[in-house]
Structure formats: C-alpha cells, structure tokens
C-alpha cells in the first residue's frame, strides 16, 4: 500500500532555517565518513610507517587539505547547529526575529571558528604546543 510519507521536503519552499536543518543531517552523515577515514589512518599507524605515510601524504595534497578543511567546517557547523537544537529544546528561539538572528550567528560562528582555527594552526607552531604536535 502506498501511504503518504514524511518528510515531504519537495513540496516546501525551504527557508534558511530549513536549509540549515537539513544541512545538520547532511554534515552529520559526512562527518561519519571522515571519522572512518581517521580510524583507517590509526590502523595504518599500527601497520607501519610506510602505510601511515602513504595515507598521510594523500591528506597533504591540495585536494586532501581542501577535504580536510571542508570536514572541519562541517564539524563546526554541526556543532553550532547542535547548540541551536539545545536552545530549541529549552523552548527558546522560535520567534521569527530569533530564527533569523540565530541563523546568522550560527553561520558566522562556524565560518569564524574555521578561519580562526586555520590561522591558529598555520601560524607560529608555539601557540599549539599544548596539544603536543
């Protein structure tokens, strides 16, 4: 039997809030793929330096670094939108003005954090010595 199914995304004109909401799911799914790649890298580290370096070198290429920073942005976006969900769970932030304002804060914060972390990790290495790398 063909029953109507939900969510019927195709029948709505998506406002920004809805686009961000679906992006939360898309980024969440993509993040899992990146996480699995990282676990793959851990496994090659056990197998030996040759295996590790082979995989690490693919990350060092320009496409590799681009994907790495897209992944980092996806993670920060997902985190920022997650904070939004916690706000929504406390029954706050639903008015039209708040939705608009929080959309902007969320986007600005995720982009800003990505840029800040990029600059921090590409500047003098002493700022990062505490993570031990």
């Amino acid at each position: 039997m063909q029953r109507p199914i939900s969510p019927h995304l195709q029948v709505y004109r998506l406002p920004l809030t809805a686009i961000l909401s679906i992006s939360h799911r898309i980024t969440g799914t993509l993040l899992v793929v990146g996480l699995m790649f990282y676990v793959g890298l851990l496994t090659t580290a056990v197998l030996g330096a040759d295996y590790f370096t082979a995989l690490q070198k693919t990350v060092a290429t320009i496409p590799g670094q681009t994907l790495l920073w897209i992944w980092i942005y996806a993670l920060l976006f997902h985190a920022c939108h997650g904070i939004r969900h916690i706000l929504w769970d406390s029954i706050r932030g639903f008015s039209r003005d708040q939705l608009f304002r929080h959309n902007m804060i969320e986007l600005a914060l995720s982009v800003g954090l990505t840029v800040a972390l990029f600059l921090l990790t590409h500047g003098s290495s002493s700022a990062l010595s505490w993570v031990g790398l």
Partner: protein
Amino acid sequence: MKTVHKTSAGSAATTHWWRQRLSALILLPLTLWFILCIAQLPSLTHAAFLEWIRNLWNATALSLFLIVSIFHAVLGLEVVIEDYVHDIKKRQTTLKLMRFILLLTESAAILAILKLVFPETP
C-alpha cells in the same frame, strides 16, 4: 512518576533524546581539541604521531572522542535511516548494517590505539 515514565509510549524516544544531547555536550570541548590535532595531519610524520599518541592524555582524549562520536553517530544515523528508508524490512536491514559497520569501526579504533600505546603486546 517513575512508573509513568517507564510505561509511557515515549520512553524509548526520551532515552534516545537524552543520549543524543548528553553525548553532544561531551563532544563539544573534545571536538575543538580534535580539530587542533587533525589540522596538523598534512605535515605529520609517523614518528611524531607515535610520540603524540603515547602521551596518556592524548590517548585518553582520543579514545573518549572516538567512542562518544561513534555513539552519537549511531543515534543520529538511526534517525536519518528511520526517516528516509520507508520499507520496514529494508529499514531494519539498513539499521543493522549501520550499527555493525560502526561497531567494527569502533573496535578497530580502540584496538589500534591500544596497539600504538602498548607496542610490546602481541
């Protein structure tokens, strides 16, 4: 109240909700730390990586990040699969497959970290 909670139809959903939010809160600080670590990947040598992971703080934080991330991922993917795989049989299979793959990933991660931290063990 306890009996109401246990017998109410929303009990499983409530548990799911709490688990998702708690794991999310634990992940927030760990995420920033993890990003700082993986940002170094393009210039990371095998020797530097070994030295890094043999620091007990790093190994602990990384294990915690991976375990909680995968737990959070299973919860999130469950909702995505339940929403988009409409055929009940296919849905059950997809859910089982997803949980199996992520369990495998988690086992591989923990085993790898243990082997890297304690290299003498067989």
